[in-house]
Every structure is written in C-alpha cells, then in structure tokens.
C-alpha cells in the first residue's frame, strides 16, 4: 500500500538551516547536511532544502550545500529557491538533487516547467505554490491567490488554475504552502489542499501550519494530501519523523516506519 510521505523541510540561508515564522524571525538551526541525515535516519521520506534568501552571489554556497547534503543521503532530495532557468536546475541536479522546486521563476515564465521536465523528466519538477485565501472571491478557497516573494507580491494567478497549468506543462508534483497557516502551528489549510489535490492528477504536498500529529492526520484525510511538509515541528527536538509516524500509524494513516 502506498504510504503518506512526511517530508522534512530545511530552510537554508548562507549554508545554514534557518526557519522563519511567517517568513520573519529567523533562527539558526544548524548544518544542513547533518540535519538532513538525521531526518532521513529518523524516518523522513524525503528532504526538501529551500534556499530562502536565494541570490545570484549565493549560488556557489547553495551548490556546495546541496553537494554536501546529498553525499550521504539515500532518500529523495528536492532543492528549491532561486532556480530561475533550466541551467540553474541542471547545476542543482549535478550537485546531487533528485528534484527541483520552482516557484516565482515559473510564474514569470511558465515554459520553465516544460523545459526542466523535458531535460530531467516530470518526476524531477516540483512546482511550489504559495497561496492565501481570497475572502473577496466567489470561492475563497479555489480562487486562493498565488503570491511570490515570501507572500509580499500578488501574481494575479489563482491556486487551482495555476496548479492545473503546472501539471499540463509537465510538473511532477505540487508543493502547496498556505500563507495563512505558515508558521502558525494551528494546522494545515485542509480545504485549500483538498481543492488543489482534487483538481490535479499529480501528488500534492501540503505545507504550512503543522503543529501537532492531529494536523497531519487531518491533512492526509480531509485535505487529501499525498505528502506533508514539516519544518519547525522537527527542529530543536520538538518531534522526530519517527515519533510523528508512530503516532500517525496509531491513528490509522499508512506510513513507512523506519527500520
């Protein structure tokens, strides 16, 4: 039976793991390679590394971080942040990533999704969508607005239609972050996640809002998520993938328990 994936997310900046609460209040949480290896050992099904302050100058630092992190990592490894071209993606793959996550560059030029998919396969392209419900819209959930620049800039795109376009262009997965929930630890936006998951035929990774085990049970059930991202919940020994998964198994969620 296919299991629900728990994905450990490491937000990195300048070669260090950081985590923002609603994208501010950055706290240092260690070395990416060490953290990734620990999460994988404890049963994380996948590692996502997001370069949250991606700059052109920081590219070589990021590639070095990816290379160091990938070296002893034998679970799927996705890298995002600042990937603006198929060449950027190629460098990240070369450094050891299995997937890249694209966000603002794909919104600016959707053909980037097609280009990376053509060269590396759809399984290697994750389209990240940062969305916030639109209380003004006829359907505030389906018409959630897509933002870039950490939630500061509106794109004019709507979450469900953008996810559909991404799939049609060859995205392999959608990483959906609820900007309303992110960093709040009050639970995932299950309605938003379900709306996107039902609209596409590719896996949807839910992100933003994890605080308790029940939040994960909820997003895998009501939210119809195929995978869920957890960042801050894993840091500082709050919880491990292992204990999270043991609790999920008890709650009847199909998960892979680490051997």
């Amino acid at each position: 039976m296919i299991t629900k994936r728990i994905i450990a997310c490491l937000d990195v900046s300048g070669g260090r793991v950081v985590k923002g609460v609603q994208f501010v209040d950055i706290i240092d949480a260690g070395d990416p390679a060490t953290q990734a290896a620990r999460h994988a050992r404890e049963g994380a099904d996948e590692i996502v590394l997001l370069d949250i302050t991606a700059t052109h100058e920081g590219r070589s630092t990021l590639l070095d971080t990816v290379r160091r992190t990938a070296r002893e990592l034998f679970v799927p490894f996705c890298v995002g942040g600042g990937i603006g071209s198929a060449d950027d993606a190629a460098q990240v793959f070369e450094a050891g990533a299995d997937k890249v996550s694209v966000n603002s560059a794909a919104l600016k030029d959707p053909a980037l999704i097609d280009a990376i998919g053509r060269s590396f396969g759809a399984q290697a392209v994750v389209v990240a969508i940062d969305a916030r419900r639109d209380p003004q819209a006829a359907d505030p959930v389906r018409d959630a607005q897509v933002f870039v620049q950490g939630g500061r800039k509106l794109t004019g795109r709507r979450a469900v239609e953008w996810a559909r376009e991404a799939e049609a262009r060859g995205a392999g997965e959608i990483l959906l972050t609820s900007m309303d929930s992110d960093g709040m630890r009050t639970g995932f936006d299950c309605e938003l996640t379900a709306a996107v998951s039902e609209a596409v035929n590719i896996p949807v990774i839910a992100s933003g809002g994890a605080g308790t085990v029940e939040h994960f049970v909820d997003v895998f059930g009501r939210g119809k998520a195929d995978a869920a991202l957890a960042a801050s919940i894993f840091h500082f020994g709050v919880s491990s993938a292992r204990s999270l998964k043991e609790e999920l198994a008890k709650a009847g969620v199909s998960v892979r328990l680490p051997c």
Binding site: D45, P76, Q123, G172
Partner: protein, 203 residues
C-alpha cells in the same frame, strides 16, 4: 567491484553513482564506449524519463553490446525505465522496441481510481527465491515514481499493489530489474544494491 553504468541521456545519474560508490563499487559511466560494455563485470542501466529515450541505446550500438554481455552471463540491473526496457516494449513509446529479454510489455496504470503517476514509498511482496531482494523483510518500503509498469509474470521477483498488482522487481538468471529506485530507498535500497553487487553470477 567494477560496475559499468549506462548513460542514455534520459536524466540524472548522480544518485545511482553516489549509491554504488557508497557501497564501495567502482562505478564507471559510458554513453557509447562499447569497450566498457564488452569488458564489463556488471552493468547497471538506470532510468528516469521517457521510454522513447532508450532509442539512444539502439543508435549507439549499446543495445547489441548489452545483449551480448547478458548472453555472456554478466550480471545486469535495470532501474525504473531501465527495467521496463528489458521487456518487449512499452505503450509509452509503441514504436520503440525494448530488449525483449522478458516477453511481456509495459503499460500505463489505468486512470480514474488513484493518481497517476505512482509516487512515493510502497511495500514489496517478495518471492522467496529472489537473490536481488534477499533479506528484505515484510514492512520494508521502497521509493517509486512512474506511470508505466510491467505486468506480474513468472519472472516477477516482487509484487507491489497500486491500483492493481504490478512487477516491482524482475529477475531471471543474471538479469534483474527494479521498478522502484533502490538508490533513493534508504537502507532497504542500499541492501538491494548490495545484493546485486555481491551476487557472483553463478548461482
């Protein structure tokens, strides 16, 4: 242990090379140097991407060289599309023949029940005589990402269920294949790659 890894430009080989080298194998890559296939001790054909990309194997003469190596008894492991290529073909690219080592053909998962592609960690029902999957216990999971799959047959070494049962691994003589990605399947995957690397090819 030396392993010749075939590059047919269908995707990224980094993960496979990294896992083989982690297991102390000397992995060498060829995208058309037939001598490296003719003298190969072991061959791995990775694969991500489209079945049509295997056309490059025919164009470069690699198909014929691999067929000869297999006939000599060289241990061979195909991964994902690399496993599918061992069959007669795939409906993903009907005009492109596979190696035909296994007589069946690969088809797409039926639509309408679950998402296609099948992405994530799933379990294996291992046939007891599998050498490739020796030591894999019930409850261990491996990582899949694919939309096409091979049918269950007499040569199936492990079955996985997604929408319907399909061949998660295949094995006959010196020819083995995994639909899943052992290089991305944690400790279980490394155990499976280790089995391939240690197999003497004479049992």
């Amino acid at each position: 242990m030396r392993v010749t890894v075939i590059d047919y430009k269908a995707g990224n080989l980094t993960s496979v090379l990294k896992a083989l080298r982690h297991l102390s194998a000397e992995a060498i890559v060829t995208d058309g140097d037939l001598a490296l296939v003719e003298t190969a001790e072991r061959i791995v054909l990775p694969g991500v991407g489209h079945f049509a990309a295997t056309e490059r194997l025919d164009a470069t003469g690699l198909t014929a060289a691999i067929r000869a190596a297999i006939a000599r008894g060289v241990p061979f492991l195909g991964i994902c599309v690399g496993m599918q290529w061992l069959y007669a073909g795939s409906s993903e690219a009907p005009e492109q023949p596979g190696l035909g080592h296994f007589a069946e053909s690969c088809t797409r998962f039926p639509e309408g029940q679950e998402k296609v592609p099948h992405v994530g960690w799933n379990s294996l029902e291992v046939r007891s005589n599998s050498r490739l999957l020796a030591g894999v216990e019930p409850g261990e999971h491996v990582y899949f990402t694919h939309s096409f799959k091979a049918p269950v047959s007499a040569d199936t070494a492990a079955i996985t269920h997604y929408i319907e049962p399909f061949a998660a691994a295949v094995e006959r003589g010196n020819v083995m294949g995994t639909q899943f990605h052992p290089e991305k399947s944690g400790a279980t995957g490394l155990k499976i790659l280790g089995n391939f690397l240690r197999w003497k090819g004479t049992e």
